[in-house]
């Protein structure tokens, strides 16, 4: 299965801040290589402040100061043609957005204009893309979309504050899927929702993906949601992707010590044995330790970890890890 739809090459996006004449660089996305295939759910997991949201902004081409693209490229594959996102003009980007790639930002509270009805937001969307439709026609399209996704049609006449958090989140997803984009980028779509509502939102994401047969990039720190939706999962730590594999491998046989902590610390029903968190604290992205950023917390730390960042190596065909222990293991097996 190699049918890429989005690819990054050595992507680097830093926040460059100028505080009282002193330059501060926040290395939020640091040399990220990833390739997303058609018709898959690609999960990105990691804790808060690891650069997940910044990575999404870079993928979406929404880079605004103080965030700067320092190096690397993002390619979209539209009809088999690779497009370099950073070279596109504003008008071209606008055309791609929502029709080719759409974005569900974090916090559905702030997505809608609070003083207009939901249907007006739908009209805005339909009118600015495609165009040539009357208001009534676009309301009809909106009604059809909501009906198809099992949402009550009456909410079109409501104001955003009249909807519950879960409903708002589902309407946001319906809106993002309206123009049948090939990629939907979702940033923490289930955070701050109750478990039952969260399940409803996850269900809807799956429905949308099954219907459109497109790719979803799902960012969430909730490993339970990742396990439920994602086909492949990337684990991000301090601006880097430290491990990438199929969901089964990530949960079944994680390799990177950070992933192991992340998976093994999850409490499970029916098993009360002690769960340990990773020791120490996540590093600040503006003051990263040298070498591998996890070495300060890693129980298997080697001398080389403190000096050099390991390259990403392939453990198996679909299992990539950035850790010095991989070489250690390969040396052991070859000798």
């Amino acid at each position: 299965m190699t049918n890429p739809i989005l690819r990054t090459e050595q992507l680097k996006a830093f926040y460059v801040l100028d505080i009282h004449g002193e330059q501060k660089v926040v290395k939020a996305v640091n040399q990220v290589d990833l390739e997303i295939q058609e018709n898959e759910v690609y999960g990105i997991a990691g804790e808060s402040g690891c650069g997940k949201t910044t990575l999404l902004k870079a993928l979406y081409g929404a880079i605004e100061p103080p965030l700067r693209l320092i190096g690397g490229k993002v390619f979209y594959f539209v009809d088999g043609l690779g497009l370099d996102v950073s070279s596109l003009g504003i008008e071209e980007k606008r055309k791609l957005r929502w029709e080719y790639v759409s974005y569900v930002p974090q916090g559905a509270m702030s997505v809608f204009n609070p003083v207009i009805r939901i249907k007006e937001t739908f009209w805005d969307f339909i009118n600015s893309h495609g165009g040539g439709k009357t208001r009534d026609e676009s309301f009809e399209i909106a009604r059809g979309q909501l009906h198809e996704l099992g949402l009550p049609v009456e909410i079109l006449d409501a104001y955003p504050h009249q909807l519950s958090g879960g409903m708002r989140q589902r309407v946001t997803i319906a809106l993002a899927a309206l123009l049948k984009p090939r990629i939907i980028i979702c940033d923490e779509p289930t955070t701050a929702l109750d478990v039952v509502v969260q399940r409803g939102v996850v269900q809807m994401l799956k429905d949308v993906q099954a219907k459109l047969q497109n790719s979803i990039i799902l960012v969430t720190h909730d490993m339970g949601v990742q396990a439920n939706v994602a086909d492949r999962i990337a684990i991000m730590y301090a601006g880097k992707i430290v491990e990438e594999a199929s969901a089964e491998t990530i949960f079944g046989s994680p390799f990177h010590p950070y992933t192991q902590y992340l998976i093994n610390s999850l409490p499970k029903f029916g098993d009360k044995s002690t769960r340990e968190s990773a020791p120490g604290n996540p590093p600040s992205l503006s003051d990263l330790p040298p070498g591998c950023p996890f070495h300060v917390r890693c129980p298997y730390v080697l001398e080389i970890c403190k000096e050099q960042m390991p390259a990403t190596s392939k453990l198996e065909v679909n299992h990539k890890v950035a850790c010095w222990l991989v070489e250690e293991r390969q040396d052991a097996s070859s000798s």
Binding site: V195, V196, Q203, E276, S277
Partner: protein, 325 residues
Amino acid sequence: MQALLEVNHLTKTFTLGNIISRVRITAVDNISFHIKPAEIFALAGESGCGKSTTARIILGFEEPTSGEIIHKGKRDEKQRNEKVWFTQGIQAIFQDPFGTFNPLRIVDRYFFETVQQYKLAETKEDAVKLIDRKLQAVGLSYAELAGRYPSEFSGGQLQRISIARALLTDPILMIADEPVSMVDASLRMSIVNLFKKLKEDLGVSVLYITHDLATAYYVSDRIAIMFRGNIVEEGPVEQVLIHPKHPYTKLLRESIPEVDPNMRWRETVNLSDTEQEEYLRKGCKFAGRCPLVMDICKDVVPEDIYIEDVLVKCHLYPEDSQDAS
């Protein structure tokens, strides 16, 4: 064993709306439970189920509409008059560790203030010693803390600092309202483990209020599931979460995503009517979504039934099954 804290028939109603259209919401509806010494008791439920209101009433931030709270044999009117006596025994941990501390204030000031207020030490050296001892209990030290501002710590560290602060008065009960929901995933378990350790080493009881059933299962001894102001099921955590009896507990339990890609959800769920509608329901509040709903559920509020040690509030379990078991 005598209960540390007893909550009896606690009710709290709020009035919403203006003078023309008024709605009365019973946020906490006649709930009773007790916490034993050296026990972690979880109060779990979704947002808007009344769990935080219950905590606020216990802490005295909110007046109950009716019902009583008995702590060490004293009733609540009395407790309010003896604030120092009360807070010495019961301390609170809140959800947002960044909101707990004033960002412009050095963190150790909070510790010295507490020491002063409760007259816990005579001299500064004694105070430092005491503070250091409490910080050691949560895996930190006074040297790490001295002279630093809250922004210099991570969320997990701040939450541990606020637990250490609460420990200063040697409380017998801690009320922790969603203590881990804002802590990073990789540090979450260290806080949860800390509660376990405090219980085992110091005999501190914890009222653990959470929406996260997985950590509730991991850490607590007994659990009460709240739904729209009612406790619908209560009992030992093994029985309630592994063999749930109430349909709502079942739904909640099934809605927790399993951390195993081979155990994905297959069935679909019905999402709720609005919160208000459910609160105003005449009979069982869950009747609108319950897969096993009967006619009686829509009109009559079910009684509390004991099946072995588990309390269930559901018409599925007729009252005579109580005697049979």
